[in-house]
Point group: C2
Chain length 343, copies 2
Amino acid sequence: MKIAIVAPLWERVPPKGYGGIELIVKLLTDELVRRGHDVTLFASGDSITAAKLKTVHPQALRLDPNIKEPGIYEHMLLADVFQHAHHFDVIHSHFGYQALSYSSFVKTPTVHTLHGAFSEENEKIYRRFAWQKFISISFSQREPRLGLNYIHTVYNGIDTSVYAFNSEPVQPPLLAFVGRISPEKGPVEAIKIARATGLPLKMAGKIDVVDKDFYTEQVEPLIDGEQIQFLGEVSHEEKVKLLSEASVTLFPINWREPFGLVMIESMATGTPVVAMGLGSVPEVIAHDKTGYVCHSLEAMIEMVPYAMKLDRHTCREYVVNRFSVESMASEYERAYSMVMGNG
Amino acid sequence: MKIAIVAPLWERVPPKGYGGIELIVKLLTDELVRRGHDVTLFASGDSITAAKLKTVHPQALRLDPNIKEPGIYEHMLLADVFQHAHHFDVIHSHFGYQALSYSSFVKTPTVHTLHGAFSEENEKIYRRFAWQKFISISFSQREPRLGLNYIHTVYNGIDTSVYAFNSEPVQPPLLAFVGRISPEKGPVEAIKIARATGLPLKMAGKIDVVDKDFYTEQVEPLIDGEQIQFLGEVSHEEKVKLLSEASVTLFPINWREPFGLVMIESMATGTPVVAMGLGSVPEVIAHDKTGYVCHSLEAMIEMVPYAMKLDRHTCREYVVNRFSVESMASEYERAYSMVMGNG
């Protein structure tokens, strides 16, 4: 197939640091090329890809201090994509709402992967273009029901080869928390669970500017450097080490996260996850097999010892079968065939 | 003709306060309706127009505190315009660069009026769409030469009926300055001219937040409340009173202004203008008839007494013939005919 993949311009593909969308785009694009498709990636000019790269600016917009009007580059990129629509069998946009109106002008089938949550504002434009073809990254993401034309759900996948399996977690047992230090990710709840169970907890994650006060006022006072340790923002290797050495990873979110990548990263290393059952959590964890889906802090505390007894090989296999790059690419191939009228 | 006029969403048509583009759109649209055209105005929902109004939001975006992503509304509006392109004989955009890529998807001829100056960033997208059909609001606006496909120049027009002619300026003679109190408009230079000529100067204009320090440090210390008076931001009536009572209006700009509306407002009341010859100034002033086009502060000082002797009726007639709503609308009608292939 001739496939156009459209990435946001704000961050490079793959991202230099944090950047969930750009990482997924990188993995998917390279895998589609490996499978023999003719793939063109529209992204920032410093992107690294096995596909043909088309761009309108040599750098990720985030990194260029001269960028004052990102909209200029967005319009130029989308014009490049959709004015050349007839060159492609299918266009796959990860760009966001900006691509909706553009794709309404062309005949080439376009699928839009939704990566974020809906907001009161962007709901309006999604409703306006509800007849377009959408792919959700979890079924829970489809709330609130806006009447969008969802054609498929494709879970995010990871490159399981860079998440080494570990059958022997460290002793004494360790709890892990990986994620932004923000209220919705639940770092305070993670600490409460550690204290209630008496187990040590290592936490890793970046602190955004908007969350600085939250960290200083509510999280930092609880970090004693012994039972509760905070590692700050860590590299991929350090993250994998932390997740794989832990006996249980905690995912005590306070919001309906459309897809929690940390859960599959943890399970890929063999470590089960005890999570709050919001958003995509019930879809990502196999309850009582790869972790526990809980509905209160008390339940999470109660399930930690049970999670420690789950089979680590099962966790690994579950991710390889369901949340690998290969399974993600296969599901996207199915979606492309569907919209091309062959599905 | 069936005409679509596209206005920015940030401010109402007509603007509640400052808003040059929205004022021009208001005057042009109503005049085109008066001439029997079938006009649809795409603008904010609180706009007031004789045309059919289409919108995506009930309020000017500037006035709605809930607006966090203006791009959402821009894309919705432009999609509404260009998805209905086949309903119109011509589309006339005052929206800016965002409309360039959209208009490239439709067959209905689209003309883009440029209202601002080019920036290092927006030059890129104008070059990308250089083949589209552009209308400049002065010939000087076409600098820097980007190779754009200019089909016409249409000067801005005013409703001359709301600028009462006055044959008798106040005595002793008064100088006027009307404009934002910012370095590029030259308020300090206006004061220097007043001091050098010994004439009283009344100044009116708003002070933007970014210009607060400039005002406090460089302008305010020169205002003595006697020879040099500052009236602050004034109403339309107060502005007309000031311009019409003056013997000469000063326009000592320091930048290449694409079109200086104050010059025609002043001449409409009968008051000649002494201006720095940058940007559109040589196109707007009839040198030695309705004012003087100068190339230094010294020359401006020297020409003030000569300007006081120019015929005020000539100034008025010059604006009525060249810079009225009627002449603007006639020139736009010509441009529409040209792009429809009848010109």
